[in-house]
């Protein structure tokens, strides 16, 4: 049983600036985020030559809100709704043994499914690529799309797998020890991307 996705409850702690940690840098402001998303939405439509057969699937948690924003922009441009949904990838993760068991988030695929669609996966941060790998496995269990594209707000490098994003909000070179935090109004009260930590 699937349900339409409104902003799911956040499973990350609220976005507070760590106190007294001078190494936190804001790398995207609220304005940067909305401009990047707007551009990505346009790029998707441009490459797809319109919104025909597009299906935008957000990867929970924050990918879902980003997917909703993208289709909102696309609907403005095209004058018609673009189908969107959510794809939970917990069951396809390759690191279940290492991490505490997660509750499964919801998967919602609007009718008539993904067959012959151009699926655009949406996530907030692209890092090792394992999440996207799991998402592609999950998609292949659901049907056979014509194509799969990947849109991310931030690409921070350090891929473990040969995966690349088709649409990137911002390229962010980071060191492995740094932490990238994406805050979205739907979950955290504001739009912002921050980097913290790292070796000095």
């Amino acid at each position: 049983m699937t349900r339409p996705e409104s902003a799911p409850p956040s499973d990350s702690p609220p976005a507070d600036l760590p106190e007294g940690d001078q190494s936190v840098r804001v790398v995207m402001s609220s304005g940067d985020v909305s401009r990047a998303l707007r551009r990505v939405a346009h790029e998707i439509l441009e490459r797809n030559k319109g919104s025909q057969d597009l299906l935008v699937l957000g990867i929970p948690t924050r990918g879902v809100a980003l997917a909703q924003r993208l289709v909102h922009v696309m609907a403005e441009v095209e004058g018609r709704d673009v189908p969107s949904g959510a794809l939970d990838i917990t069951m396809h993760r390759d690191d279940l043994r290492r991490n505490p068991i997660r509750a499964i988030e919801h998967t919602y695929i609007p009718a008539p499914g993904i067959d012959d669609k151009t699926v655009v996966l949406v996530d907030d941060v692209l890092f090792s690529g394992r999440t996207v790998r799991a998402a592609m496995d999950a998609i292949s269990d659901l049907g056979r799309p014509r194509a799969i594209r990947l849109a991310v707000l931030v690409d921070r490098g350090h891929r473990d797998l040969p995966i690349r994003a088709d649409y990137v909000g911002k390229n962010l070179p980071t060191s492995r020890s740094e932490r990238v935090q994406v805050c979205l109004a739907e979950h955290d009260g504001l739009d912002e991307v921050r980097i913290s930590g790292g070796d000095r």
Binding site: M1, T2, D88, M91, H92, L96, R97, R98, N99, P100, I101, A103, I104, H106, T107, D137, D141, L142, G143
Partner: protein, 311 residues
């Protein structure tokens, strides 16, 4: 969540809700063309059944296979156990082959708990003697929740042989943990000794009067009554039991419109439940069966996916 599932006492309210929520997602898998998730790939689960049970065992088998686990069925009737090998030796032998976990059904109360002390693997109780059958209670709760929503505060009647029913015991604990109001209805001979203090400390009520209870409840669960109990002096005849404690056609009419009827099966149609009641629109009997695989997938996921992690 605890490492084993031996009793409904092993799960708190959050655990139960997590399992039921996950089961909803699992239910989707059943409707896909490719009924497979890779989640438990590489895990080996042994169904070790010392009592006959096609239903529960195949439910666990399907659940495991749809999660890509390797499932082995060992039916211990006519196996080495009948040659005198003790339960302890049987499980330790199988465990020594490197399995990740056992789903155990045995005729002795407490067997699952004892097995969990004898082996290193994860143990899931699929029914131990008269004691408990936790996954049955979970799937019953799942079915009720699908129809009625949040079970907190709902009034549920459990009707039948509490003394000899592991399903009733597990349901009692499960529903209490979820915050439901529970009334157990049975003749005095089928209520276990000490029920008064048990009911008082756990906060459920008991009644000998099914007619008084039925119109007040949101769900009624009928338990199978074994005809063998007649010879133990527990009740005189099937007819008398049905008249006093069966969900007859007449009693069906006294239920509220929204009240659901559950029966974990197999049913003695005409004894504890009339055919009309079993087939009524309010009956969740078939839903319960369908829920079984999803709920067991959820349990297997939560108990096995993180197994072996270095915490």
């Amino acid at each position: 969540m605890k490492r084993h599932l031996l009793s409904m006492n092993d799960l708190d309210r959050n655990d139960i809700l997590t399992i039921l929520d996950t089961a909803e997602s699992m239910h989707d898998v059943q409707h896909r063309e490719v009924k497979k998730l890779p989640t438990l790939r590489g895990r080996t689960v042994v169904n070790l059944f010392f009592e006959d049970s096609t239903r529960t065992r195949s439910s666990f088998e399907i659940a495991g296979k749809w999660l890509s686990a390797d499932v082995i069925n060992i039916s211990a009737k006519g196996s080495s156990t009948s040659k005198g090998e003790s339960l302890r030796d049987t499980v330790r032998t199988v465990a020594a082959m490197g399995v990740d976990g056992f789903v155990i059904r045995h005729s002795a109360s407490g067997a699952a708990q004892q097995v969990s002390e004898w082996v290193d693997a994860v143990v899931i109780n699929a029914g131990d003697g008269l004691h408990e059958h936790p996954t049955q209670a979970l799937l019953d709760a799942y079915s009720m929740r699908q129809r009625l929503g949040d079970l907190q505060g709902l009034h549920v009647a459990l009707v039948g042989d509490l003394t000899h029913s592991r399903v009733l015991r597990s349901n009692l604990i499960c529903l209490k943990t979820l915050g439901a109001r529970v009334t157990v209805v049975a003749p005095p001979t089928l209520m276990p000794a000490g029920i008064e203090t048990w009911a008082a400390s756990e906060g459920f009520t008991t009644s000998y009067d099914l007619d008084a209870v039925l119109p007040c409840v949101d769900a009624v669960m009928m338990l199978r009554v074994q005809r063998e109990r007649m010879s133990g002096g527990f009740f005189p005849t099937a007819r008398e039991y049905t008249v006093g404690y069966g969900l007859t056609r007449e009693r069906l009419r006294t239920l509220q419109k929204h009240t659901v009827i559950c029966h974990p099966g197999p049913m003695n149609r005409g004894l504890e439940i009339a055919a009309d009641a079993a087939d009524a629109a309010q009956s969740l009997v078939l839903d319960q069966v369908s829920a079984g695989v999803a709920v067991r997938m959820s349990v297997l996921y939560h108990l096995f996916a993180g197994e072996g992690s270095l915490t």
